[in-house]
């Protein structure tokens, strides 16, 4: 057992952190303000996902998404979705050109349909030129039609919208569905872990700013404990994401990671706001953005209740839901 990052994995994480600071940090605020996804930045970060051969693809995706989301959760979400598409297409040998995204069509059997509408808001919907569709009967590659942007008040700039998908071609059978869904959950959870890390960054920045002004909030136990809770919940979520990335989401590990991470993100962002006080909660501040983005991680890609239900189904296989 080695539940620690190897030197190569640490290097990959550091590289992702560096690239996020270079490419994403300069545009993070404007992405949120305008709600527009920086497509070229997403393309660049996704293209770099194949650069670290020594790191397991799902773990590399999780590390990259966390570091990107630490700077901009919206860009992190877009990179996560597009990165997952790239991995699924590569894994199943699917050919094709153009920017790809993933759409989850739970409950849909594509074999019977000429086209399918994804009514839940989907990340990368307004940007992807082709989609990997996770349907009940397998993985499909399909073309988007009738894309409708959805202006959610979080993850603004993640190219979120609804989409209809047609011209579907099967790329993998039903046995690939669970793994694909777990990969999606891993990258979605990694976005939330990135928000936890960003919340800790904001809390520390607020403390440093107050110290410069002559205050010592770091000596306040309420601040220390809030900081400890941010670190603890974030770390619990992070190890769950890494574990799920390395075990392909076995035993509902990816769903567990998503629940942990999303709730940790909401709690961390709230605590960061409390530590920062009113100065951190002015309109357009990073902390307010984190709170909006965090809330969406509990809803997008499956609400927490949906994940809890799926986990419980596995825990109680002999007792069907009422």
């Amino acid at each position: 057992m080695n539940p620690l990052l190897s030197e190569q994995e640490k290097a990959a994480r550091d590289q992702a952190r560096q690239r996020a600071l270079e490419l994403v940090a300069p545009v993070a605020g404007s992405v949120d303000a305008a709600g527009e996804c920086p497509a070229e930045v997403v393309d660049t970060l996704v293209s770099e996902l194949s650069a670290a051969d020594e790191v397991a693809p799902a773990l590399l995706l999780a590390l990259t998404v966390e570091e990107t989301a630490r700077v901009s959760a919206a860009v992190g979400a877009a990179v996560g979705n597009a990165g997952a598409a790239m991995l699924l297409l590569a894994e199943h040998g699917a050919e094709g050109n153009g920017r790809a995204g993933v759409a989850d069509a739970a409950g849909v059997t594509m074999s019977d349909a000429d086209s399918v509408g994804i009514s839940d808001p989907t990340v990368m919907a307004t940007l992807a030129e082709r989609f990997v569709v996770i349907a009940d009967d397998g993985l499909w590659q399909a073309q988007p039609d009738n894309v409708e942007p959805v202006a959610l008040d979080g993850l603004r700039g993640a190219a979120i919208g609804t989409v209809e998908l047609s011209q579907a071609v099967r790329i993998a059978g039903a046995d690939a569905v669970a793994g694909a869904r777990a990969l999606m959950q891993v990258q979605q959870a990694a976005v939330a872990v990135g928000i936890c890390a960003a919340s800790q960054d904001q809390a520390l920045a607020a403390i440093a700013g107050a110290k410069e002004a002559g205050d010592r909030p770091d000596r306040s136990q309420s601040v220390q404990w809030a900081l400890a809770d941010i670190a603890t919940e974030g770390e619990a979520a992070r190890v769950a994401v890494w574990h799920a990335a390395c075990t392909e989401g076995a035993d509902q590990g990816a769903a567990m990671a998503q629940v942990l991470a999303a709730e940790a993100a909401v709690g961390s962002a709230r605590r960061a706001g409390q530590i920062g006080g009113l100065d951190a909660l002015t309109a357009g501040s990073v902390t307010t953005r984190l709170q909006r983005d965090a809330k969406l991680t509990e809803l997008l890609g499956g609400a927490t209740a949906t994940h809890l239900g799926a986990i419980a189904d596995e825990l109680l296989p002999d007792v069907p839901r009422a």
Partner: protein, 386 residues
């Protein structure tokens, strides 16, 4: 990164699980009700090599790594936290520091018999007026020629009445700030040592928790562990090592309580079927499983860091804070899912509820863990490595 257990780790977990299911689970409720320390079972645990799991084989131990040790504790906690805590103490805060800081002569005399399972070790740091504030100890070890004379009293000593020896922390230099305290290996039957009353506890009722007093207890210098003034360092290092173990114990308590609840909601029928079909209850079970899962991953990581000789203070504190708080939430909810039956002693779940409670208190309260974590986060931020 590889989360798979090694063959040895799987083997230890399986062996302890098998023993715990056969020998501990059927009796744990009775031991708890009668507040009976199960000496015969501990003799068997000693024979199995569980008293000195991480002690090298050359000193009579099992030579296991910290991960295997934590897996064993989880399995014991899953069936009986009282048994688990005595095993935890003898391993992580007696054997580990004696092995790490002791001389070969000390290891031969006071480590080997414990590691071989002949007797349990204990850890005597807390005092009636000093628990979390380890620097506030008042038990005095006064140097008189070639000897130390120990006077004072210790509180909350797990296995105080049943141990063979204990690690006692006492003030040797009252004028010093960081080197006030030294550590001594003190046999329980040494002249001047008196084991006082057994605490009547809310949980962990079959474990022995005693006050111990020292009255003109004369110790030759070879009882001193490490150098004079090393006590605080030894205590903090031992507690760092112990926290991963206590996290594993807490995960085990949570797992045990969860399993009882999971089984109960499938058996108990109401409104025309098993109550486990209701969404609200299902979601609670899922939350319990999630918290256990995260706690397990956190303690495995903290233990691995320690195995590799890396400092794990922050990670162990995070693991302990998460796992112990989670164990309490899980046990609370497990009682809730049992309804009225969870509130009576006929059902084991109430024992888990009581046993979980202390995990946020001993070996560093949750409040102390938060201070440790916050200081570590602030320090890494200051160093620019957050």
């Amino acid at each position: 990164m590889d989360w798979g257990l090694t063959a040895d780790q799987e083997m230890i977990r399986g062996m302890v699980r098998e023993f715990a299911e056969a020998e501990i689970r059927p009796n744990a409720g009775t031991w708890d009700k009668e507040k009976e320390f199960p000496s015969e079972t501990f003799a068997q645990l000693g024979e199995l090599g569980l008293f000195g799991m991480v002690v090298p084989e050359e000193w009579g131990g099992a030579g296991l790594d910290g991960v295997a040790y934590c897996l064993a504790l989880e399995e014991l906690g899953r069936t009986d936290a009282s048994t688990c805590v005595a095993i935890s103490v003898t391993n992580s805060v007696y054997c580990a520091p004696v092995n790490k800081f002791g001389t070969d002569a000390q290891r031969e005399r006071w480590l080997r018999p414990c590691a071989k399972g002949e007797w349990l070790g204990a850890f005597a740091l807390s005092e009636p007026e000093a628990g979390s504030d380890a620097a506030g100890l008042t038990t005095r070890a006064e140097r008189r020629g070639d000897e130390y004379v120990l006077n004072g009293s210790k509180a909350w000593i797990t296995s105080g009445a049943v141990c063979g020896a204990m690690l006692v922390f006492a003030v040797t230099d009252p004028t010093s700030d960081k080197r006030r305290i030294s550590a001594f290996i003190v046999p329980r039957e040494h002249p001047g040592v008196t084991v006082l009353h057994k605490e009547d506890k809310m949980g962990l009722r079959s474990s022995c928790t005693n006050q111990v007093s020292f009255d003109e207890c004369v110790l030759s210098c070879d009882h001193l562990l490490g150098g004079e003034g090393d006590g605080l360092k030894i205590a903090l290092d031992s507690l760092d090592g112990g926290r991963a173990g206590i996290s594993a114990q807490a995960v085990g308590i949570g797992q045990g309580a969860y399993e009882l609840a999971r089984d109960y909601v499938q058996e108990r029928e109401a409104f025309g079927g098993p109550i486990g079909r209701f969404e609200g209850l299902r979601h609670e079970l899922a939350r319990m499983a999630i918290e256990i899962h995260a706690g397990r991953l956190l303690y495995l990581r903290a233990a691995t860091l320690r195995d590799r000789g890396a400092r794990n203070t922050r990670q162990a504190a995070i693991a302990k804070l998460h796992a112990s708080e989670a164990a309490n939430r899980i046990a609370y909810q497990a009682v809730q899912l049992h309804g009225g039956y969870g509130y009576v002693t006929d059902y084991a779940v109430e024992r888990f509820y009581r046993d979980a409670r202390v995990t946020t208190i001993y070996e560093g309260t949750s409040e102390i863990q938060r201070l440790i974590i916050a200081r570590a986060v602030l320090a890494t931020a200051q160093a620019g490595t957050a």
